[in-house]
C-alpha cells in the first residue's frame, strides 16, 4: 500500500512538474508590440547565410535617392511592405519601430530599409505617412520605392530567396514577413520573423556585427 501511494504521489508530482516546466514562461524577450517567447531552438538565426544584396537605386520618403552603395560600411536591416497592406505590414512596422528604439537606446548604430512591393502606387508622401503612422524615426529608417514591380520581384527572388507576387489587376501582394540583417559589405547574414521578433537576439546580432566594424 505504501508503495502504491508512493507511485501515485510520484505520478502526480511528475505530472504537475511536467506541466509547470512546460508552461513556465521562458520570458527571454523584452516586451515589444508583438513580443513572443524564444524557444531554445530558435534563439539564433540561420547564421552565415552570406546572401549578397543585389545592387539597387531607390527613392525614399523624402524623395531622396538611396542606393546599395550608400549603405556600405553600415549594418542594416531590410524588410518589405506596402503602405496599403491590410493586415501584417502595420504590426510588423510597429515591431520594427520598437526594435529601432531598442537599438537607439543602446547606442547601436543601424540603418533600416523597408522596400515597398507596390512601387507603382507609392509616392514619397505615402511612404512618409506609413512611417509616421507606425512611429518610425526617419533619421535611420528608409522607406523605399522608385523602382518597378518587376525589379522588386526579382530582388526578392535573388536577394531574399523568397517570393513577391501580385494578384493580377489588384493591389494585393504576397510577400515575406522576415527581417534580413545585412552586414557592412552588403551581405545578408541572417533573418528573423518580423511578425514575432526575438528582439534581444536581433539586438545581439546587430551589436556583434557592428563590433566587427
Amino acid at each position: 500500500m505504501f508503495q502504491k501511494k508512493t507511485v501515485l504521489t510520484l505520478v502526480a508530482a511528475v505530472t504537475v512538474s511536467t506541466i509547470l516546466a512546460g508552461c513556465g514562461s521562458p520570458s527571454a524577450k523584452s516586451g515589444g508590440p508583438a513580443a513572443s517567447t524564444a524557444p531554445s531552438t530558435a534563439t539564433e538565426g540561420p547564421t552565415n547565410l552570406k546572401w549578397p544584396v543585389s545592387d539597387f537605386k531607390a527613392i525614399d520618403q523624402n524623395g531622396q535617392s538611396v542606393t546599395l552603395a550608400d549603405l556600405k560600411g553600415k549594418v542594416w536591416i531590410a524588410d518589405v511592405f506596402y503602405s496599403s497592406c491590410p493586415t501584417v505590414c502595420p504590426p510588423i512596422a510597429d515591431n520594427m519601430a520598437h526594435l529601432q528604439k531598442m537599438l537607439k537606446d543602446k547606442g547601436i548604430p543601424v540603418e533600416i530599409v523597408s522596400f515597398s512591393v507596390d512601387p507603382q502606387y507609392e509616392t514619397p508622401k505615402s511612404l512618409k505617412i506609413f512611417g509616421q503612422e507606425h512611429g518610425a524615426d526617419f533619421s535611420n529608417w528608409h522607406f523605399l520605392a522608385g523602382y518597378s514591380f518587376d525589379w522588386i520581384k526579382q530582388f526578392a527572388q535573388d536577394t531574399l530567396k523568397t517570393t513577391v507576387a501580385q494578384v493580377p489587376n489588384s493591389r494585393i501582394f504576397s510577400h515575406p514577413v522576415n527581417w534580413y540583417v545585412v552586414n557592412q559589405s552588403g551581405v545578408i547574414e541572417t533573418f528573423y520573423d518580423g511578425l514575432h521578433p526575438y528582439y534581444n537576439e536581433i539586438v545581439k546580432t546587430v551589436q556583434s556585427l557592428e563590433a566587427k566594424r
Partner: protein, 144 residues
C-alpha cells in the same frame, strides 16, 4: 475502493498532463519562421501554396464552411502564424469583416460562416506561414 482511487488519480494526472500539453502549445510563439531560423535548416523553401475552398452559391441562414489548404512542396503545413478570411459585400463602400480561422485538419484551416443577407460577397484569405504573407484575389459568392 483502492482501484477506484488509483484510476481517479491516474485519470486526473492524465487530464492535467493533456491540459498542460495543449495549454503550453498555444502559449508558444506560432513561429513557423522559427523553423526556418534553425541554424541547421537554412535550405530555402518556396512560399507555401494556399488553396481556398468556398461554395459559390448558398442560401441565407445556412452555415457554410470556408477553408484553405496550406501546403509547402506538396506537404501540409500545420504551423502557421495566422489564417484569416475577409468577407465583404460586393457593393461600393461596404465594410469588410475579418474572421480568424482554426485548424480543422492536416494543413486545413476553416471557419463556419452564415450569411444573413442576400447578395454577392467577396471572400478572400490572408495566410501568414513559413515567413510569408500569402494572399490572392477574392472569390465571389452568391447568397440567395
Amino acid at each position: 475502493m483502492r482501484k477506484y482511487a488509483l484510476f481517479s488519480i491516474l485519470g486526473l494526472s492524465g487530464v492535467l498532463l493533456f491540459t498542460g500539453i495543449t495549454g503550453c502549445g498555444t502559449s508558444n510563439p506560432p513561429s513557423s519562421s522559427s523553423m526556418n531560423m534553425s541554424p541547421k535548416n537554412t535550405t530555402v523553401k518556396p512560399m507555401p501554396t494556399v488553396k481556398m475552398d468556398v461554395p459559390t452559391q448558398m442560401k441565407t441562414g445556412a452555415s457554410v464552411q470556408i477553408l484553405v489548404h496550406v501546403t509547402q512542396q506538396g506537404k501540409p503545413v500545420n504551423q502557421v502564424d495566422e489564417v484569416m478570411f475577409e468577407i465583404s459585400p460586393d457593393t461600393l463602400g461596404s465594410k469588410h469583416t475579418i474572421f480568424t480561422a482554426k485548424r480543422t485538419g492536416n494543413g486545413e484551416f476553416s471557419i463556419q460562416h452564415t450569411f444573413a443577407q442576400k447578395g454577392t460577397y467577396d471572400v478572400m484569405y490572408h495566410v501568414v506561414a513559413m515567413g510569408s504573407m500569402i494572399m490572392t484575389g477574392p472569390v465571389k459568392v452568391s447568397v440567395s
